[in-house]
Amino acid sequence: MSDKRLSLRDAIARYVQDGMAVAIEGFTACICFAAGHEIIRQRRRNLTLIRMTPDLIYDQMVAAGVACKLIFSYLGNPGVGSLNAIRRAVEQGIPQPLELEEYSHYGMVGRYIAGASRLPFFPLRSYTGSDMPRVNPRIRMVDDPYSGAPVAVVPPLNPDVAIIHAQRADVAGNTQLWGLIGSQKEVAFAARRRIVVVEEIVDEAVIRSDPNRTIIPGLIVDAVVHEPFGAHPSYVQGYYDRDNQLYLEWDRISRNHQQVVAWLEEWVYGAPDRAAYLEKLGAERLARLRPAPAPAAPVDYGAYQ
C-alpha cells in the first residue's frame, strides 16, 4: 500500500497551480480552512473557486486576491448574513472583479454527479419559472426524449483539484467521513486530483473494520494530509464544534477591506502553518469546542470464513 502522506504545504505546492479550478467542499461541516489559508500563503492567482456555499473560507480567499471566478449556489454567512468580501468584489471590484457562475444546490450536486460519472448532463426538476437560466446559459431546458416535456439540465463539472476534509484516513487515502457528508463524495470523484485532509491517520485495519463509512477510496486520492483542527472555524462531527463566535465576528471584520487585509496578515500570512494558527487561537478556545462523547452503538459485520 503506497504512503501518500504529504505536508499541507507540499500538497498545495504540488497540486494547486495558478489558473486552476479548485473545489474545497464540505456543507457547513468539514470545510478545510487550513488548505484555503495555505493557498493564500502560497499566493496562487486566477483560481476558479468551486463550492456550493462559499462560506468564510472563500470570502477570505477572494479578499486575498487568489480568485477570478466563483462557481456556487449559496453566497451567505449561514445564519449571520452576507459574505461581505465577495460582495465587495462583485459590487465594487475590490480587490479585483469576480465572475460569478451560479446554480441552485441541486444544480451543483448534479454537476458533480455528471462530472464524476462522465455523463453529458444531469436532468433535474428545478429552474422552471426561475430567472436563473436567463443569467446562466449553462442551465438549459431540453425535451425529455420519452415524454417530450421540457426538463432542466446542467453540464458536468470536473474541478482540477478537490480538497476534502474528513475525520480519518489511512496512509493510502482510504477516507472515512461521518456526520454531514454533503457532496464530498461526488466532488471527489468528479475532480482530476484529490487532496484528503484528516483529523487522524489510522491503520488500514481500522478502515477495514467499518467499510460502510469509507466515502472516498484511496484509489482516487493523490495526497493525504494530517492536519488536526484543519477545518476550524467550521467543525468536524465528534471532534470539535463550529466556532460560531468567529462566524459572528467575521461579519464585523469583513465590513471593510482594510480590516480583512489586517486579519489575513495576522492569521494567515503571520502564521506560517496550521500549528501556528492553532497556537494563536489558544488551547483553551480549542478545548471549549470539544463536544462530550455520543458514540454510536457498535455494528457487527460478522466474520465469514
Binding site: 445564519g79 444546490h105 426561475s130 454531514l180 462531527q237 460560531n244
Partner: protein
Amino acid sequence: MNYTASEMMIVAAARALAGVRTVFVGVGLPNIACNLARRTIAPDLELIYAAGVYGARPARLPLSIGDPTLVTGATSIMSQADLFGLYLQGGLVDVALLGGAQIDRFGNLNTTVIGDYARPKVRLPGSGGACEIAANARRTFIIMRLTRRAFVERLDFVTSPGHLAGGDSRARLGLPGAGPALVVTDLALFDFANPERAMQLIAIHPGVTIDQVRAEVGWNLRLADHITTTPSPTPEELRVVREELDPEGIYR
C-alpha cells in the same frame, strides 16, 4: 403578556405546521419556527435540512442549518444527492418554509439580487436549495417581514417560482408541487385561495389594522371575505422561544 412582532410571526408560522408530517427547514426564521412547532403543536413533525438530515432532534437552536446538533440523534444522514433527489424530488416533503428579500403578489421570491443582475445594487445569497424546494415541495409557506421594500409589484429577479403569473400558469409549466399556500409576516397572514392565485389578506395580528397592512404592500391588496385576528402567543410558546430556542434574542 408582552411580545414582539417577530415573536408573533414565529409563533404564527409554527402553528401553521399543525398536522404536517415532514417539513423542509430553511436558514433563519424558518429554522426557529419549525423547531418551535416540533416542541409545541406538532410533536411528530419530521425536520428535513438541506445539509442532508432527516428527522433532526436538535438539542439547541443551530445558528447555521448545517450545525452538528442536527446530526446527533437524527433519524438519518444522507448525501445531498440523496436529499434533493430521493427526498425532495421524490415528493416526500409536505411543506417547505421559505423566505426572501422580495416577494410579489403571486408568491414568487427573489433571493438573488436587488437591481440589475450584471451590476447589482445588492448582491444577495442566491438560490441555495430554494429554487428546487419551491418547485418540488407539496406546498410552501413563506415567512418574511412585511415591508413595502419586500412586498413589491415586480421582482428584480425571480429566484424561486411561486404561482408565476397567477391562475393555472404554475400547473401549466408542470411544476410538481402546488406552490405557496401561506405567507406569514410580523403583521398579518395571507393565502392564495382564489382562482387568480393572488396573495390575499386572511388575518391580522392583534393591534394591527388593515390600513397598516395595505401601506406595506406594493400593489392593490386583495382581502379575503372573512379576515380574522391571530390569537396572541401563549405564555408556553413564548417560553419555548425565549428560554429554549433563542435565549440570546437574535430573532426578537
